[in-house]
Amino acid sequence: MEIRKSTGERIFDLANIIVLSLACLAVLLPIVHVFASSLSSTQALVHAKVSLWPVEFNLGNYAEIMHNDQFWRAFGVSTFVVVVGTLIALTVTVLMAYPLSKSYLRGRNAIMLMVVFTMIFYPPMIPLYLTVKSVGLMNTVWAMIIPAAMAQFNLLICLTFFRSLPEELYEAARMDGMSESRMVWRIAVPLSKPIMMTLGLFYAEFFWNNYSSSLLYVTKTAIRPLQLFMYYMIAKTDMNEMAGNITEHASTVSPQGLQMATIIIATIPIIIIYPFIQKHFIKGALVGSIKE
């Protein structure tokens, strides 16, 4: 049965569209500028001529980054870190969130206290470095994964959602003889699809964009992740400028342009993957569950 919209609702819908469109514009314009800058020549940037369209269009900045064996290698390293890291992180998170969502679990509060405590007091650089080193992770890909195996914030989000799943669901399964661990993967996770997707996205984005772990723990160029590679590339171009060296590509490659290009390159994979996740943000993921 269709219920007719009131005038109030119609106005609201229109206003909504207008407001959101304005917000989009406010976001899109600067981003287009960044994109256009990455495609402009150094002189155009120096004279601040670029607004929304590239001036003296050239792919120099991108070529500088991508025509480099190291780029593809770093890309591969990052991909590995993202895929493996996200899988590990999601697993650890889910495994920890599930028991903590049971209000009858003894010792729950103590553990929650520890989780929040470590969120607020974070370890300083040197002790953390020594820890990572003593566990034998220095200069391995794992140094970029294990020390970030679980983000407490994501744990808390996961846990909040698991809590909202009624215990009756589990009761029924328990009576059918299902084991606790089965219930995690057969009941809790599938019913929390939007959250799983979101946490997956958060972890993936973190692993993809993170370079602070590799900055200190990775000195082998062979396992440098993409962000670190691009970071050094910018530092190198900077240094060349400061040292008074004139590089052959100075007219098309500039530290500014490079910075913009690196951001665009880093963002593209996320833009590609996001639509697949968006599908799950539709109302009604909790299909076929309890009747109110």
């Binding site: 697993t91 009858y104 405590f117 820890t131 909790l286």
Partner: protein, 310 residues
């Protein structure tokens, strides 16, 4: 919701753990991770209490007790640092926290799926820009010499405003840039929460004749409450922890008045001078204050909304 066992006394702790060993086993990876990579290195924070000589090593450095805390507390502008930090934090709570929530709700009300999806994708893009670039963009807008806003002002007959150099504009700039950068990305978590609300609830309400506003009040909002409270509580716990990179980007000596916060002070007088004990002391101070506030807020939240972290 307690499970019932025998009608007599509750089982001892050991028996409880054994009975639910599956659950406790599941906790092991996460807890081990926290212990090794978060808890254990924290003990190293004791360097705040030492004249940490990393070559003598941890155990042999001299104890100087509270020296670094004293330096920090006796800075003549200490109260200013605290005030700036708290005020900016408060502004963020008031504006930057609701913004993604409102955005998520508005997005949720859109009928056209294609429009909804594209808007969403566009809006999270700024999250990937670094603060350095955003600082540059801010400069392009607000510079008195070449900024777009000032050009518009002079064209309409006014004289240029030095936005980046007036203490009064600093805090609004911080809040607005925060919203611009992260509103879209932070909305994602709320969108996921919204997707988790059962549609049958909405249908039932429609049948009962509830309009969209009532649906929002009685279904959407309560459905979002757990996430909202979680994020709010965590923000309270991090009340003295502002985004250092962001503030530093826009800060300059003239705006210290309204913008110099604990983290920028700590960076300038500590890290830049190679002195690690000062930043650690400040970090501890922030942590203690935040933690206490969090516990208090958690109690209050449980009492009023029934939601809490523990």
């Amino acid at each position: 919701m307690k499970r019932t066992f025998s009608a007599t006394a509750p089982p001892s702790l050991l028996r409880f753990v054994w009975k639910h060993r599956a659950l406790y086993l599941m906790l092991v990876p996460g807890v081990a991770y926290l212990l090794v990579f978060k808890f254990f290195p924290l003990l190293g924070s004791a360097i705040a209490f030492k004249d940490y000589n990393i070559y003598k090593g941890f155990w042999d450095s001299d104890w100087v007790g509270t020296k670094y805390f004293v330096q920090f507390f006796t800075y003549p502008q200490f109260t200013r640092l605290l005030r700036n930090t708290l005020v900016i934090s408060l502004y963020q709570l008031l504006f930057s926290l609701p913004a993604p929530l409102i955005l998520a709700v508005l997005l949720n009300e859109l009928r056209n799926v294609a429009f909804k999806r594209s808007v969403q994708t566009v809006l999270y893009l700024p999250h990937f820009l670094s603060w350095v670039i955003i600082g540059g963009l801010g400069y392009m807008l607000l510079s008195p010499q070449t900024g777009l806003v000032n050009q518009w002002i002079t064209q309409t007959g006014g004289s240029p405003i030095h936005f980046l150099q007036e203490p009064g504009y600093f805090r609004p700039i911080i809040v607005l840039s925060s919203i611009w950068k992260d509103m879209g990305w932070n909305a994602i978590i709320f969108l996921a929460a919204l997707a988790g609300i059962s549609p049958s609830l909405y249908e039932a309400a429609k049948i009962d004749g509830a309009g969209r506003w009532n649906q929002f009040k009685h279904i959407t909002l309560p459905g979002l409450l757990p996430v909202i409270m979680l994020i709010l509580l965590l923000k309270i716990g991090h009340v003295l922890d502002l985004g250092f990179e962001q503030i530093n980007m826009f800060l300059n000596p003239i705006t210290y008045e309204t913008g110099d916060v604990l983290d920028t002070y700590s960076y300038r007088e500590g890290i830049l001078r190679g002195k690690y004990s000062l930043p650690t002391a400040i970090g501890l101070f922030k942590g203690v204050v935040g933690f206490i506030l969090l516990i208090v807020a958690n109690r209050a939240s449980k009492a009023t909304t029934g939601q809490g972290i523990f």
